[in-house]
Symmetry: C2
Subunit: 163 residues, 2 copies
DNA sequence: ATAAGAATGAGAATCATTCTCAAGGAGCCG
DNA sequence: CGGCTCCTTGAGAATGATTCTCATTCTTAT
């Protein structure tokens, strides 16, 4: 557990955080406005980290990437960003929740989850599968009385590193 | 939050816990043996509750269903049952993890997750979708270098009660 | 029986996450 | 440029689901 966390942390480089596309920045700013929230520099850093990683990241990983962040503020801002539909929070195995940019900012995708280290990789499904999944969502809405809005598909297995 | 939990708890009736199929009991007993573990009465109660509910349940719900259970033992036994591949633990939104019997005991299925109350319902996907999902699992294995073993599909939306 | 090893339960400990509160901005209006 | 208000920040305390501890109570095999 502690070992695999350390392993993951070492993978995260101190990347250039400055190239989040303007379009995304505007969308984020706009969604925050909707809630009467500001797009502060701390929040920009979080978005930049998530953009740079392009993978679901844990909070310790974010603090590791940008050590100026305060833990409590980071958690608080992630809640705000989640409420603004900018960030998606996902919980898998493992001690920490993971965060990634909302799908409509980065494109629809799925996750490969490693059952050994708890790591998560992104993964794009073939379009015929996506089409079928879309249908199922609609079907479930009508038959089960459940109002399905989106789907989530994870493949569980073992990642390259753990093999 | 507290409200919706209470709502869920009230749904759980004090069911008859005695009719878990013999075949399942044997399988469970066998898998525990493999790990040098016993199929004790506490563990039987847990399995019976999970069987009776037929839905992923939280720990408070289980304690509510059978008040003789001690919290710490229940948690400990769920870990053992999970290690024995008898029980699957799943984390969604909401404060508590949920547990259900392993898929190979109850049949392969998916989940409808309510984003409002955090409740989870079971759901069986059409067979053509399952076939396609099977293919994708294989593809991911070969292309991404990721050894995919199974898939997990959730539909996220709003349940009947919350509408 | 009886010893040896598991399992149990009550409570303490852990630790990711959330909350609190005092201090530091940002925006606005004159 | 003040002054005012409200939002955000960060450090630390608090929360609470889960895990651990340990003395006691079963099980099982001999």
């Amino acid at each position: 557990m502690t070992n695999s966390l350390a392993k993951i942390l070492n993978k995260i480089p101190a990347k250039d955080l400055s190239k989040v596309p303007d379009k995304i920045q505007e969308t984020v700013a706009h969604r925050l406005e909707q809630l009467g929230q500001r797009y502060t520099s701390n929040r920009k850093i979080l978005v930049a980290i998530l953009w740079a990683q392009g993978q679901p990241v844990t909070l310790p990983e974010m603090l590791n990437a940008e050590s100026s962040l305060a833990q409590s503020s980071a958690y608080r801002n992630l809640v705000v960003l989640e409420e603004a539909q900018v960030v998606m929070r996902l919980v898998t195995t493992g001690q920490f929740a993971r965060y990634e940019l909302a799908e409509d900012l980065t494109g629809h995708h799925h996750h490969l989850i490693c059952r050994l280290c708890g790591g998560v990789e992104d993964f794009t499904a073939p379009s015929d599968l996506e089409r079928l999944l879309g249908k199922v969502v609609v079907q479930a809405s009508t038959t089960a009385g459940f109002l399905a809005e989106e789907h989530r598909l994870d493949l569980i297995g073992t990642c390259t590193d753990c093999r």
